[in-house]
Symmetry: C2
Subunit: 283 residues, 2 copies
């Protein structure tokens, strides 16, 4: 199978099962959202794919070849994660050149130009950056590395709204010019909803959804209005959650709306991805 | 004047003017959004209010009394910020008791209950927390401290969507039961838009807007559609920004829409706060 394939991957840390028999395929040239709560296992998965951690069971393949201790495969994969692996006292511009040593297609010119656009001085030291600028530094690396599989772990942490918009714009422009596989793990779900095509939801180490955004959003709907009327409509239906405020209630349902049996005065809307995620992953 | 008042406050760091003659009032029992780009001066302002930094010029008053080196005033003010001031090896449950020493109205019982609800073990050490849980720890302190002025600097950094929703819910519940002044500095503007009543926008150390959310949102509107028609409508009007995608264009305008002179086929919508913010603060 082409693309990156996880086959029965499990990983435990002491008494916590971080990944539980995960089987999953990241296909070529698609943009994925990897969504999960804090602690769900997202970072563990990304660290296993990029050889920073080894699984207890199962394996990860790239185009059918195991990625473990496979330099050829690792050269096709880039991960930006919470931990940076750069020497702390290294300057940004040196870090760009250093990255090119390991990833020959890294575009130093583009990295310099993006640094300027994001207002990141390339004379700064890697360890002197604020949370927002550390994220910007890593996002620039990911946008310039030019490998087929790029994993973005929290690419907008600490970024202001303007810089988040700029990141999404550059990601889509790059994808449009020269498609690659981007896997974006983020908590800002509603914002990224228009950027991603495929959605993987992980809960307590297990994949609970793996489908296109449109399929997933088509699975549910919301009904709002007078609490009594909402209750009468939702009785016997597949309710995944409710919110109440005073006498008003919003219910989140799976399935297709049944307009015929819906009481007067209720408002019917589509599901928004973040609300759906919250309802699917709440404990 | 009651509330917290900044009078002509300026602060420079080397060659950067972080705050430039800021005059501003945070009134009693209101919820403010303090919005600005990374580096705009938000944290400097909060650190001056809470006595962690001193201004070069101007002063901060609480109910007419200077707050500088004024323990009585500082006992009325609580700031959660990027830096925690707790001893690193202290456990969460000890930190709750320690906070009560300085803030006698701190509700230790409620803090324990919130920690459980957010899934934060109170046996953990303060310096062992991930970004998300460090934020949760600080948010819990702020929700339990029971002082009249609480400043939240990035209260949702690293929080998953479920925990962000839980934070907004607890904030509004507390405010409803026992009003206080909450000042929320955040980059997640659209999410907080329904929580805040008053908006202060800071740009390069100067206050550029200070008004109610409804007034601010009423200042602008957007027009989208065929680029040529959008261009013909916006000519001579007060345009604060545009986005283009293929032959489509969205324009952000100040003022009231003039339906009479709007070409057929254009879509008119209200301004969303995050889009408005981006347009007002882009360089």
């Amino acid at each position: 199978m082409s693309g990156i394939e996880l086959r029965g991957v499990s990983k435990r840390f002491k008494d916590v099962t971080a990944l539980d028999n995960v089987t999953l395929n990241f296909e070529e040239n698609k943009i994925y959202g990897l969504l999960g709560r804090n602690g769900a296992g997202k970072s563990t998965m990304l660290n296993i794919i990029s050889n920073r951690l080894f699984p207890d069971e199962g394996e990860v393949l790239l185009d059918g070849q195991p990625v473990r201790e496979n330099d050829m495969a690792q050269g096709q994969i880039f991960l930006i994660s919470e931990k940076t692996l750069y020497p702390e006292k290294m300057k940004i511009k040196e870090a760009f050149k250093w990255t090119q040593e390991f990833y020959p297609d890294f575009d130093v010119e583009k990295a310099r130009s993006l640094a300027e656009e994001f207002g990141l001085s390339d004379k700064k030291k890697v360890d002197s950056l604020s949370t927002g600028y550390e994220t910007i530094f890593k996002v620039i690396l990911a946008l310039c590395v030019n490998v087929p599989y790029v994993f973005f772990d929290e690419p907008v942490l600490g970024l202001d709204a303007n810089h988040r918009e700029l990141f999404y714009k550059h990601l889509l422009t790059k994808y449009g010019e020269d498609p690659f596989t981007a896997v974006i793990s983020t908590h800002l779900i509603e914002e990224v909803s228009n950027v991603i095509e495929e959605i993987v939801i992980i809960k307590r180490g297990k994949i609970i959804y793996n489908e296109s955004r449109d399929e997933l959003l088509g699975k549910g709907y919301t009904v709002s209005g007078n609490a009594g009327r909402v209750d009468s409509y939702i009785k016997g239906r597949d309710v995944i959650g409710t919110d109440s405020l005073g006498g008003l209630k919003t219910a989140y349902l799976l399935g297709r709306p049944d307009r015929g049996s819906m009481p007067e005065g209720l408002e019917l809307t589509g599901m928004d991805l973040q609300k759906l995620f919250i309802q699917l992953t709440n404990e």
